[in-house]
Amino acid sequence: MSAVLAFLGLLAVAAGAGFFVAGTAGVIRFPDTPSRLHALTKADNLGLGLVVLGLLPFVPGWFFALKLLLVWALVLLSGATAAQLIAERVRGPEPPA
């Protein structure tokens, strides 16, 4: 593993952590549920994505990397679904077109 890759990895993890901090601040400070959901899903999607990306240079093998990417994909899927479900509940059913 080259030093450059390790440095880029750590940079990505730090950026990911930054997204989590910002997302948490958003969940606490934003005024209503939809904007809180926006903050929450940004932290989950981008924050976790950057952390996973940053950890890739440090993994011992490709299977390990695949599992990390799978974790991210599953969180993307479940996070997006949960956010949609909560938003739907808050807004009420869509008016008929």
């Binding site: 599953l74 997006a80 679904t81």
Partner: protein, 321 residues
């Protein structure tokens, strides 16, 4: 002390403080719903604590069963209790009893903490011996060796308890609902986010659940963690209305529920003939036999957890026409 040591100490201290804060918040929460959310947060923090203690097997179980499955069961209980305010307040213990229970729990916790702190370093135990005897059995995970070989009886009884918990939940049903489908019935969703999730997630989740159960003999994982994921996949499809819960009278469901303990007991009895006694394995056959038990147990854990989440039958059985 090195910088790494200081940082690890700060991290562990923060984590311990957060676990305590989440526990306190859960107890102090004004209503059942926020208390349940607090409990789930508490469980996730506890999972991290187990990871920091180097116990990934316990961490996985805490995340899967202690937080995920229990969290869903509690949330459904909160929903079921709505509208029953009178019964709930009649069944809620008084302030004095709550205080007494809290003091008792606090005293036990404190005594345990003092006992752990008073242990000599390194703590006495059988860990080294268990680790040394794991490899000759063909297993790579000493936790699996302890659960299935050295303390197999405990795990067997645990697997039987799981069947009894389902029976206890089913026995909550009134007589007229006996034979019906357990739990609420969800309307079938053909589009929308939940319908999409219920179609995309299960194929992936089933593979992951089986993988985690399979890998348990060599790495962190096992029947309970894998079975929980399998149960969760069914719950997603059930909540989206894509599948219906099977009737509690369905023999296939009952067979699935008892398959694990049954195979466990049969393999245990076979130990009298092929090894030194009950639940003993001949070393050459240890791993295949354990995998057979684990496979049946995974099925039973998945069935039991799914049935515990669904709850007792809530409607009379449908008439066969």
């Amino acid at each position: 002390m090195t910088l790494d040591g200081v940082l690890a100490g700060v991290l562990d201290g923060l984590l311990a403080a957060l676990v305590l804060a989440a526990a306190g918040w859960t107890l102090a929460a004004p209503a059942a719903f926020p208390a349940t959310i607090g409990f789930v947060g508490f469980g996730l923090l506890l999972t991290l604590a187990w990871v920091r203690l180097g116990a990934p097997d316990v961490a996985l179980t805490e995340a899967a069963i202690g937080t995920g499955a229990t969290g869903v069961i509690l949330l459904l209980a909160v929903v079921r209790l709505r509208g029953g305010e009178e019964e709930v307040s009649a069944a809620t213990p008084g302030r004095a009893l709550v205080l007494a229970a809290g003091l008792l729990a606090g005293a036990v916790g404190l005594a345990l903490a003092l006992a752990v702190l008073a242990l000599p370093d390194p703590a006495p135990g059988l860990a080294a011996e268990a680790a040394a005897r794991t490899a000759p059995l063909g297993l790579g995970n000493p936790v699996a060796a302890v659960l299935m070989v050295f303390r197999g009886l405990d795990t067997l009884l645990e697997s039987v308890v799981l069947v009894f918990t389902v029976l206890a939940v089913w026995s909550m049903a009134p007589d007229r609902h006996w034979g019906g489908r357990p739990g609420p019935e969800f309307p079938r969703q053909d589009d929308g986010p939940l319908a999409l999730l219920a179609r995309l997630l299960p194929p992936v989740g089933l593979v992951i659940g089986i993988y985690i159960a399979w890998v348990g003999t060599d790495a962190p994982g096992g029947k309970f963690q894998g079975g929980t994921i399998l149960a969760a996949m069914w719950v997603v499809a059930w909540a989206a209305g894509l599948v219906q819960a099977p009737s509690v009278a369905d023999r296939r469901v009952r067979l699935m529920l008892v398959a694990g303990p049954l195979v466990f007991v049969l393999v245990g009895l076979a130990g009298f003939g092929i090894a030194d006694g009950f639940l003993a394995y001949p070393p050459a056959l240890a791993k295949p036999l354990i995998l057979v038990i684990e496979a049946a147990m995974t099925l039973s854990v998945a069935a039991a957890l799914a049935l515990l989440i669904a709850g007792p039958p809530e409607h009379p059985p449908e008439r066969v026409t």
